[in-house]
């Protein structure tokens, strides 16, 4: 049995995980395990910006953290926890300045200050950016600081299961992808920062690796999943591949047209137009397509041609590159074909269950970033708030762990017993897959994605969601009899993808189940059979867990009290 011991183990090498490591590196014996090299993480795909009310531009002079918090809560359709949002907004200017001090290569204004651009649902130009590759620039910067601090990395290690002892976390079992060996990480502090679970859908902007591994592992040790019904569909993903076309393209003046050359956003958001929040723009585009006003019944046009070559080359060079490589279209001359696609998971591991932000119900286990539901995004996340969340709560949770400093003695006989049991169950799982005579993983994965796309998409209703539940139960059943040859485990990505599927089938079921339960429309969750928001019954967070094999739902109150709950219109 191979065992590594640390004061704290961080799972995931994206912005969230890296930022925790920086906070702890000087005082804790800390390790990051990641299934890919950290610089491959999906944080690097974020394009448009990171919000902070710096007020660097003339138009942004009056901005402040309260306005940022208000826009975020309003954009969330009031489901965000207002105390968490205040932390997010107040920390924002500091964290952006901190990133700059680490060397982040932000774009600049003539004044020399960090440049800021308008984003959907924001009252001021608030999104700080590095061209249209902001996530890439920040991921590299924070990784560089980890190198500077000598953080220990275990690259290409896959989290399989968490080990719990009593109600405390005791460690985790991982697969060393290169050697194929199972390795135990023994630690009484574990931070899950494994990103989102967008790959339960086929049509998604997410990296192939966004499979909810942290969520799946947490769900299996009985941690509830919060608000998973709230799935963000990004309005503008490239037709064909669904690669993200940043909101910054609209922030810089890009316009949306249907095939009759109408700016259809005037029908749903006459004031905000293209810069209404993502849920509203995504529904508007889908409506155009469903009602026959799209191109080839599949997409609308995002027109940048009027911005001119210079502005496109300066502000949106990555978007131009993506459009040319993946759609054969040069946005300087031709509009970009776009359609909505799954983009972000507002829900995640239930946080602040009893303690503080990022704390789960299991002692010593934390979750941050897209993996978690802290909840700062509520029913709909504003663009520019996800990069912000990763670093703000990465630092916050790092500090909380440092303060607690609960480094206990590990390796008692009981904990070793729990480790051995966990190893044994994984070996048994691999043997079962080997022996099974059922379907191939790909068939099961596709059945899951097909029903999620079809029945748990932008527009939802009772019968579709019922169908999704039936389909996903079948998926679960097929997964139990799935066949996969597991004898050679070195760099066996078939095995990795099967382990990812193990996480996804659970989270897909949770998502559909919560969507069926929530009989109202709020933010990204739109029920055609319940088109209105219903604060009386549903201004609550959903919590899904599995008891005796059955999914059950509980609720948790939303933290209000700072901003008055109102109707939402743009």
């Amino acid at each position: 049995m191979k065992v590594e011991e640390f004061d704290a183990v961080i799972v995931g090498g994206g912005l969230s995980g890296l930022r925790v490591a920086i906070e702890l590196a000087d005082t804790f014996n800390v390790a990051i395990i990641s299934k890919v090299y950290p610089l491959r993480s999906h944080s690097g795909a974020a394009q448009g910006g990171i919000n902070a009310s710096l007020g660097n531009t003339e138009a942004g002079k009056e901005d402040n953290p309260e306005r940022h918090a208000y826009d975020t809560v309003y954009g969330s359709d009031y489901l965000a926890d207002q105390d968490a949002v205040m932390v997010l907004a107040k920390e924002a200017p500091k964290i952006v300045i901190e990133l700059e001090s680490m060397g982040a290569p932000f774009s600049r204004l003539d004044s020399g200050l960090i440049a800021q651009r308008p984003f959907g649902g924001a009252g001021f130009p608030r999104a700080c950016y590095a061209g249209d590759r902001t996530g890439h620039a920040l991921l590299h910067t924070v990784y560089e600081q980890c190198i500077r601090k000598g953080v220990k990395f275990y690259d290409e290690y896959f989290l399989i299961d968490l080990i719990k002892f009593g109600n405390s976390i005791a460690g985790l079992v991982s697969l060393d992808i290169a050697s194929g060996e199972l390795v135990i990480f023994r630690s009484e502090v574990i931070v899950l920062a494994t990103g989102g679970f967008g790959r339960i859908y086929k049509r998604s902007t997410n990296a192939i690796i966004n499979t909810g591994d942290g969520l799946g592992a947490a769900f299996r040790i009985d941690i509830p999943m919060q608000d998973c019904e709230f799935v963000q569909f990004h309005p503008t993903t490239l037709f064909g591949t669904n690669i993200l076309i940043t909101e910054g393209a609209r922030g810089e003046g890009g316009l949306l047209f249907n095939k009759h050359k109408e700016r259809f956003m005037k029908n749903v958001a006459p004031k905000a137009m293209e810069l209404a929040p993502r849920d509203i723009v995504a529904r508007a585009i889908d409506t155009e397509i469903l009602e026959g006003r799209g191109f080839e019944d599949s997409y609308v046009h995002l027109d940048l041609t009027h911005l001119g070559r210079d502005k496109i080359m300066e502000r949106l060079p990555g978007i131009r590159e993506i459009s040319m490589y993946f759609a054969g279209v040069d946005p300087i001359e031709t509009p970009i074909p776009v359609q909505p696609g799954q983009h972000y998971s507002m829900g995640g591991i239930a946080s602040k269950y009893k303690g503080d932000f990022g704390e789960t119900p299991v002692e010593g286990l934390y979750s941050i970033g897209e993996t978690s539901c802290i909840s700062v995004h509520g029913a709909n996340r504003l663009g520019g708030n996800s990069l912000l969340e990763t670093v703000v709560f990465g630092r916050y949770v790092g500090r909380a762990i440092f303060k607690k400093n609960s480094r206990k003695k590990l390796g008692s006989a009981d904990i070793k017993k729990a480790e051995e049991a966990s190893l044994k169950s994984i070996e048994k799982l691999f043997t079962t897959w080997n022996k099974n005579k059922g379907k191939k993983p790909v068939e099961i994965r596709q059945a899951m994605k097909t029903t999620m796309d079809k029945n748990v998409g932008i527009f939802r209703e009772e019968s579709n969601l019922q169908q999704a539940i039936i389909d996903l139960q079948k998926v679960q059943k097929d997964f139990k009899t799935m066949h996969l040859e597991t004898s050679d485990r070195r760099f066996n990505f078939g095995l990795i993808r099967a382990l990812e599927l193990r996480n996804m089938v659970d989270i897909a079921e949770v998502t559909a189940y919560a969507a069926l339960w929530r009989k109202e429309s709020r933010g990204a969750h739109f029920r055609t059979d319940h088109p209105k928001r219903n604060d009386k019954d549903f201004l609550v967070h959903s919590l899904v867990s599995r008891k005796n094999g059955e999914l059950i739902i509980e609720t948790k109150p939303v933290t209000l009290g700072i901003f008055e709950v109102k109707e939402r219109a743009y």
């Binding site: 491959r40 680490m102 200050l113 490589y325 993946f326 040859e485």
Partner: protein, 253 residues
């Protein structure tokens, strides 16, 4: 109507020291299919042990560098149709194993990245790559500080390093023949990274000096033979060769 298919010839190697083989797979084509998608098809339907790295499928993460039709490139960014045989006078012929019967017009040949030890199939050992990356000390060493205002930089100065920021550390520039013959060569990627910091107007003079000196080690800038294969193959237009040249010119100042 029968579906259009394409044959892929894939480099296979079981372990670090085993003899390579080539294996053919027929993949049904879908509109706009990329080489990466074709590899997933093979993994899903024919052989799930086929090993290759991937992450974003959008040319931003740097995972899927490999040699396609004898030219190193990102699999996610390379279309299956029309199949293209890329060539460049600065890129030498790359040989991995013996393949005598490759039908260039109808078959796509997939091999690993050059000049890195092959561990399994299309997976190369990236450890030396990351070690050399770290060796140039690619980071700011200012005090981490969150008190406004931020340090200023003119838009012109921010622009100087923009192209270097685009580097995704995919390793494709290790096509450089010097990386092939000298196992201790820091490589174009590390040196371009060094210049990203050297040329950043915000960095402290002392740190700039440290990075400059690491880049100027005997196995760094001086080892570059100005072949500029790196510029020819870089999928992000970073032009590492130009960065190396600029570091070299700093010395003579």
């Amino acid at each position: 109507m029968t579906k259009k298919e394409k044959t892929f010839i894939i480099y296979r190697q079981k372990t670090k020291n085993s003899k390579p083989t080539y294996e053919r797979f027929k993949v049904p084509l879908t509109p706009g299919m990329t080489v990466l998608e074709a590899l997933f098809y093979i993994q899903d339907y024919y052989d799930h042990t086929l090993a290759f790295r991937y992450t974003c499928r959008g040319a931003i993460c740097g995972s899927c560098g490999m040699t396609i039709n004898k030219f190193p490139q990102l699999a996610c960014k390379t279309q299956v149709e029309p199949s293209e045989i890329k060539k460049h006078p600065r890129v030498q012929e790359l040989v991995f194993g013996e393949i005598s019967d490759w039908d260039k017009d109808n078959e796509i040949l997939i091999e690993p990245l050059p000049n890195m030890p092959i561990i399994k199939d299309l997976i190369v050992d990236m450890e030396p790559f990351w070690e050399f990356y770290k060796e140039v000390k690619p980071y700011f060493n200012r005090e981490i500080n969150d008190t406004p205002p931020e340090s200023k930089q003119t838009p012109e100065n921010a622009k100087r390093i923009e192209q270097l920021i685009y580097c995704i550390l995919c390793g494709i520039c290790w096509t450089c023949p010097v990386s092939g013959k000298r196992k201790d060569y820091l490589g174009p990627s590390s040196l371009a990274k060094a210049f990203r910091f050297i040329d950043d107007t915000r960095i402290a003079e002392k740190q700039r000096r440290i990075i400059y000196q690491s880049a100027m080690q005997e196995n760094g800038v001086p080892a570059c033979e100005k072949i500029f294969a790196c510029n020819a193959v870089c999928p992000k237009g970073v032009m590492p060769g130009i960065a190396i040249d600029k570091i070299r010119k700093l010395e003579t100042k």
